[in-house]
């Protein structure tokens, strides 16, 4: 690797046991944080062959959802303070959720308070419609995102 890795040696956590939901035909199947978490936990980190779950970037608790208002808020924690991959991770999350939820859901993606040196600008960038669209027009970035989303390296 010519460029050094930003975080060369991240702490890897164990994957949590996946509990199968109890089959209840009459149960309330509203969108809940676990459902969203199930969609995003296996996104691969842009740098390492580990999932966001394994790197503890995401957890079920960091996701909140309000189905009535159609709002989803994901707060993620980059592995290190000055991680330049934070925006890529955020972009991956956004693309994934766009694919998994109907357009009327409003998705907010933020880094956890205090977890990133440049918190404000990252947040701004991730929630700016125009900039997200522009980023996805960039073929290199697009390829990186797709690799993270559909990678089977894990």
């Amino acid at each position: 690797m010519t460029l050094g890795l930003i975080n060369a040696n991240p702490v890897v956590h164990a994957k949590k046991e996946r509990v199968a939901r109890s089959e209840d035909p009459h149960g309330d199947d509203a969108v809940d944080p676990l459902e969203i978490y199930d969609y995003v936990r296996d996104i691969r980190d842009p740098e390492h062959p580990y999932s966001l779950e394994q790197l503890s970037v995401l957890s079920e608790e960091s996701i909140t959802v309000d189905e009535k208002l159609g709002r989803i808020l994901i707060t993620f924690t980059p592995t290190i303070q000055h991680c330049s991959m934070a925006t890529v991770i955020g972009l991956c999350l956004r693309v994934k959720l766009m694919a998994c939820f109907p357009p009327h859901f409003k998705v907010d993606i933020k880094v956890a308070p205090g977890s990133h040196a440049d918190e404000e600008s990252v947040n701004k960038q991730l929630n700016d419609k125009e900039r997200v669209a522009a980023a996805l027009e960039n073929p290199n970035l697009r390829q990186l995102v797709d690799e993270c989303l559909y990678s089977n390296e894990l």
Binding site: R21, E35, V95, M98, A99, C100, P102, P103, D146, Y150
Partner: protein, 1137 residues
């Protein structure tokens, strides 16, 4: 001389290295077959080949020698004289020195060495000469892998076939072998090497012989392979496994006691390694060596082995005990491999040298410490995990030692058992000789769990010891054996201790209490050998305790289950060891008490638990099951007479009958020779019905009783042999004719509606009897004789018009089986029966008289014309099913009637004429329900029924009948759909959907192209009515089956567009989640079709699937995400184009 030139040609072709291997092999074959057929002698061959064998050209010489060698391999079974063998072996022996042509020489030697004695063998002197030449000329390790392998094979066969000849070479041989095998790395060669060393050691068993001085060197060569560790499992080595090598090496290790001074320290050292496979291997090798090296040599290492072994057990035993009911007799759960090997080693050591090892165990500080430790903790749960592990280890060690032999058992009991009894606070004088004196006293304080655990381990070990020894201990002769003496003395007080374990603890009961208590009692109760070791009083006391738990403590689920399991185990044990004395007690105490549970009217104990207890006890032995069945039946009969009065009795009867048909009958069918029980059951039910039943109003409860009774009757009858079925049919027929108001004899003399009138007067009791009789008819074998078939047919036909489905099913079974059992004497053939059915005047759809008759029938039955028609259609469908399954052509007539009903014109004929009798205001409504039932008739025709006409009920089934029906009906239905009016179209689709759904998928697949339009039209036509949702789901499943299949995909490729449109509509199907989910899954499958076909639909699908992302059901949403991904990825650009 053509032969000679041919021969030369073959030789040329083999020797010439420019020919392909195939040609060379062919010429070799040709030469070999010439020799085999005696067209050529070996002498001639050698003479012809002389030039090739002696030329100075290395390559040609090598090929020539190889040819001779290979030819000899082919002649392995052809007898040869001694002279040529002698000269050939001499030649090859010489050539061993010729390293350039070595392979041929090796092959030749090996082929000659391996000859059977019948066909002429190499002599001993020659063999010795070969060995000498081998040792002198061959540098094995400098050769290639294949030559090395040949060398080792040659060595192996020399050692195995000519042991005496080569043994005389002495030191030379051993030295040569050491040199040859040193440093070998190839797995195939290693297998041979290990075996060579094993054979070599056998050759020189003398402890002072030539091997003694080489033992050290030889072991040094061997020892570096231990433990076997495969780093590169290459493909070509796949046939040599690690385990094979390890086994071969083990045999080499243990081949001679001379290795002992080197092997044992090495093994002990490797045992301390942290690699589990090394540990397991070390323990296995130690076991093997122990047996082969002998007592004296092993004694030196006793202490060292004991301490390593103890460590291995202490660190590898599980630290958690399971308290499940299943583990009660569950032959130690899947144990750690290391622990298992260590314990098996311990057992071998103890068997070999009992005194020494028991001294070690008794004097062991660690074990003493554990004994001190357990007395400081009262309950099992207080013990810290690490100590628990050590405790279990000690338990396993003691149990293994006790199990090893009677002698060791004595010793262990002497040293440890009394200690444990002290900790538990039990003493001999408490109970010796007079067990009755303190029977009532319970030990009030909680027993020490650790001690309880250890005593259970000890007790179960000596129980296993007794069970495994062939001789059952005869009274008094063996009392000098300490453990038996101790056991006899302590058993009463131990029983008490175990009982108190689960009785006295009130406030903080743990699972451990109950488990230990029950397990201990179970072990005491299952000592083989009559009442010699465990007195009768103790045994019965244990039984009483368990039974009272089962009777009373049903709220404590775990304890209840444990006790019940324990009782079952005791029952099984008594069966297995034929303990006749104990069986009496068991029958008296356990079986009777439990059986009485069935009949007691006290409702404190949940009924399901009682039934469970009954069945569990029953399954422990045939004689017990018979008692249980008796009890069950008794209760059923007793409650049957009260059914109409008390809902309670109805409930009980329902439960018991269900249990009877679900559990008891299958059990009886498995245990051979108990058919009589079923016969009696059926006959008794009929007796009960004949004698005492008073029926009134058809309450739903009683209806339920009838249903379960019919089911039990069917199963019971179906499991009987033909002779017994005949008895049952006779009995039931006589009751039907004698105690009902049906005028069986005159029935067929009258007009339909008159009979109907007669039948209509029948009471509810008559109907019960008729239904039950129908159940018998449904279940009988084709060979069983049914009396008076004609009146029977009339009777069933009339009752089916009243809506009795069982009668229709019985009719179906009758036409299905009639005349196919090979009995010719039946009073009515199938054709006659069909004539009766089809021409009978009560058949309302059939002939010109129908309106008239129908009018009369409606009056008689007091039901509407619509339901009359529906009942008739259902009846016809069952009869049709019977015919269809046996492949009878008359089924066509039936289906024609259904198809007529499906077309408005068909029904219109009837309804038109009907106007005279009934108001025409609900005409449309009438059409609908009749048409629907006509469509559903196809479901009855094609579907598999559990109620009748299946293998269990001896139906006559023609192979592929569904396929035949499918292929005749589908074109017909298709053309009808084309011509149909809007009103009848959905029903035609429904009918065809039933046929498609119940046809095996493989048949549909072969006809996909024709079926798909019909299927898709069906899906869209039926998607509006909520009542059709199951049909929709069934069709979708067929569609997804087609889409998943390779050939299916090809066939549907053309209609991809219509399929997608249809599926997109179903994504929003509101009535059933499964339909939406399956539709989306089908869409995913469609995305696998050829790119050109589906690409145009891509945007349409993506737009539609977005709606599904918002589905109220999670499963649908998840499928939608998958589907979206699948469809988005078929284009180069992604989701957001």
């Amino acid at each position: 001389m053509a032969e000679t030139s041919q021969l030369i040609q073959h030789i040329e072709s083999f020797v010439d290295s420019s020919h392909s291997p195939g040609q060379q092999a062919a010429s070799l074959e040709a030469i070999a077959s010439l020799l085999k057929n005696d067209q050529l002698t070996i002498e001639t061959l050698v003479r012809e080949m002389e030039g090739y064998l002696t030329t100075t050209d290395n390559i040609i010489r090598a090929r020539g020698i190889l040819l001779l060698g290979e030819v000899l391999v082919h002649l392995a079974s052809k007898p040869l004289d001694d002279a040529p063998i002698h000269s050939l072996i001499g030649f090859f022996m010489d050539r061993l020195a010729d390293w350039r042509a070595l392979r041929g020489a090796l092959v030749g030697c090996l082929a000659l060495m391996r000859r059977k004695s019948s066909g002429g063998m190499v002599s001993g002197n020659d063999a010795k000469a070969v060995a000498e030449s081998y040792l002198q000329n061959l540098q094995v390790q400098s050769l290639g892998q294949y030559e090395r392998k040949l060398c080792f094979e040659l060595l192996e066969s020399l050692l195995e076939r000519y042991p005496n000849a080569v043994a005389s070479l002495g030191d030379n041989l051993i030295y040569g072998i050491c040199e040859a095998v040193d440093g070998e790395k190839d797995p195939h060669c290693l297998m041979l090497t290990f075996h060579i060393i094993e054979v070599l050691s056998r050759l020189f068993p003398d402890p002072c012989g030539p091997l003694a001085s080489f033992a050290h060197d030889l072991f040094e060569i061997l020892g570096c392979y231990f433990p076997i560790h495969f780093t590169h499992p290459k493909v070509e080595d796949a046939n040599v496994k690690r385990d094979d090598l390890a086994k071969a090496l083990m045999l080499a290790f243990s081949s001679t006691p001379l290795f002992e001074p080197f092997a044992i320290p090495l093994l002990l050292e490797k045992l301390s390694s942290s690699l589990p496979s090394a540990k397991v291997d070390s323990l296995r090798y130690l076991s093997d060596c122990t047996v082969k090296y002998g007592v004296d040599r092993m004694a030196k290492h006793g202490e060292a082995i004991w301490s390593s072994l103890k460590d291995a057990v202490f660190t590898s035993v599980d630290s958690v005990l399971s308290f499940n009911p299943e583990s009660l007799e569950g032959l130690d759960l899947p144990e750690n491999e290391i622990a298992a090997e260590a314990l098996s080693l311990l057992q071998k050591l103890i068997v070999q040298n009992t005194k020494m090892f028991l001294d070690l165990i008794v004097g062991d500080e660690d074990i003493k410490m554990i004994f001190n430790m357990i007395s400081s903790y009262e309950t099992y749960h207080e013990i810290p995990p690490q100590s628990k592990q050590r405790l279990h280890a000690v338990g396993r060690i003691l149990s293994t030692s006790a199990k090893a032999s009677t002698l060791s058992c004595n010793r262990v009991f002497e040293c440890f058992f009394s200690q444990l009894m002290n900790i538990l606070g039990l003493s001999v004088r408490n109970s010796s000789g007079h067990p009755s004196s303190d029977e009532g006293i319970l030990i009030s304080k909680r027993c020490n769990h650790g001690a309880l655990y250890l005593s259970i381990e000890l007790l179960s070990a000596c129980r296993d010891l007794v069970a495994s020894s062939e001789t059952i201990p005869a009274a008094s002769a063996h009392t000098e054996e300490t453990w038996k003496y101790l056991l006899q003395n302590f058993s009463p007080s131990l029983t008490m201790a175990f009982c108190s374990a689960f009785i006295c603890t009130s406030e903080d009961t743990h699972n451990a209490d109950m488990y230990f208590g029950v397990k201990g009692l179970l072990i005491l109760a299952t000592f083989p050998g009559g009442y010699f070791l465990i007195p009768k009083t103790v045994f019965e006391r244990i039984l009483v305790t368990f039974v009272s738990i089962v009777n009373v403590d049903y709220s404590n689920t775990l304890l209840w289950k444990l006790a019940l399991k324990a009782l079952v185990q005791i029952g099984l044990f008594i069966e297995r060891y034929h303990e006749s004395e104990k069986e009496l007690s068991y029958l008296g105490i356990v079986v009777e008490r439990i059986v009485s549970l069935a009949s007691v009217d006290d409702f404190s104990m949940p009924f399901t638990l009682r039934v469970e207890a009954l069945l569990e006890i029953g399954t422990s032995g045939q004689s017990y099951m018979l008692k249980v069945v008796q009890g069950l039946e008794g209760t059923i009969y007793a409650n049957l007479s009260k059914v109409h009065g008390s809902t309670n009795s109805a409930e009980i009867v329902t439960q018991l009958l269900k249990c009877y048909s679900n559990k008891v009958i299958p059990w009886i069918c498995c245990a051979k020779g108990l058919e009589d029980v079923l016969l009696h059951f059926a006959i008794n039910i009929w007796n009960q019905i004949e004698n005492s039943m008073v029926f009134h109003a058809t309450q739903t409860k009683e209806r339920g009783v009838l249903d379960v009774m019919m089911k039990a009757m069917k199963l019971a009858v179906a499991s009987c042999s033909v002779e017994k079925q005949n008895i049952i049919v006779q009995k039931s027929y006589s009751i039907l004719s004698s105690s009902t108001s049906f005028p069986l004899k005159e029935l067929f003399l009258q007009e339909g509606f008159q009979i109907a009138q007669v039948v209509d007067d029948s009471s509810i009791r008559d109907e019960w009897i008729l239904s039950l009789f129908a159940a018998v008819i449904i279940a009988v074998h084709p060979r069983t004789h049914i009396p008076n078939i004609r009146p029977m047919l009339y009777l069933f036909m009339i009752t089916l018009l009243k809506g009795n489905v069982a009668a229709a099913q019985a009719l179906g079974s009758m036409v299905n089986k009639l005349g196919s059992g090979g009995q010719t004497s039946s009073d009515c053939t199938l054709e006659e029966a069909m004539d009766i059915i089809l021409n009978s005047s009560l058949w309302i759809f059939h002939n010109d008289r129908s309106p008239d008759i129908q009018a009369k029938m409606t009056v008689v039955h007091d039901i509407s014309c619509t339901s009359l028609q529906i009942h008739a259609i259902v009846g016809l469908a069952w009869i049709g099913k019977g015919l269809l399954m046996r492949g009878h052509e008359k089924v066509k007539d039936m289906t024609m009637i259904f198809l007529q009903c499906l077309q408005p014109s068909g029904v219109a004929d009837i309804s038109h004429q009907e106007k005279s009798v009934s108001e025409n205001s609900y005409e449309l409504d009438l059409h609908h329900s009749v048409m629907k039932s006509a469509a559903d008739a196809f479901q009855i025709l094609m579907g598999d029924s559990e109620l009748c006409l299946n293998r269990d009920f001896h139906a006559v089934i023609r192979p592929l009948y569904k396929q035949r029906f499918f292929s005749t009906m589908m074109p017909l239905l298709q053309s009808l759909v084309m011509k149909s009016e809007p009103l009848s179209r959905p029903f035609l689709f429904r009918a065809s959907a039933h046929i498609i759904m119940d046809t095996p998928l493989i048949v549909v697949l072969s006809d996909t192209k024709k079926i798909i339009p019909m299927l898709l039209d069906g899906l869209s036509a039926l998607s509006n009515d909520i009542l059709d949702k199951d049909v929709i789901y069934g069709l979708l499943l067929v569609l997804s089956g087609i889409l998943m299949d390779k050939n299916g995909q090809k066939a549907v490729s053309d209609s991809a567009h219509t399929i997608v449109n249809c599926l997109i509509d179903l994504i929003q199907y509101p009535h059933m989640m499964l339909v939406r989910e399956t539709a989306i899954q089908c869409l995913v499958a469609v995305s696998g079709l050829s790119h050109a076909r589906i690409y145009p639909m891509r945007m349409q699908v993506l737009r539609a699937i977005i709606k599904a992302l918002d589905d109220p059901k999670r499963a649908v949403r998840q499928e939608a995400v998958r589907c979206r991904q699948a469809w988005a990825s078929i284009a180069s650009r992604s989701l957001h184009s």
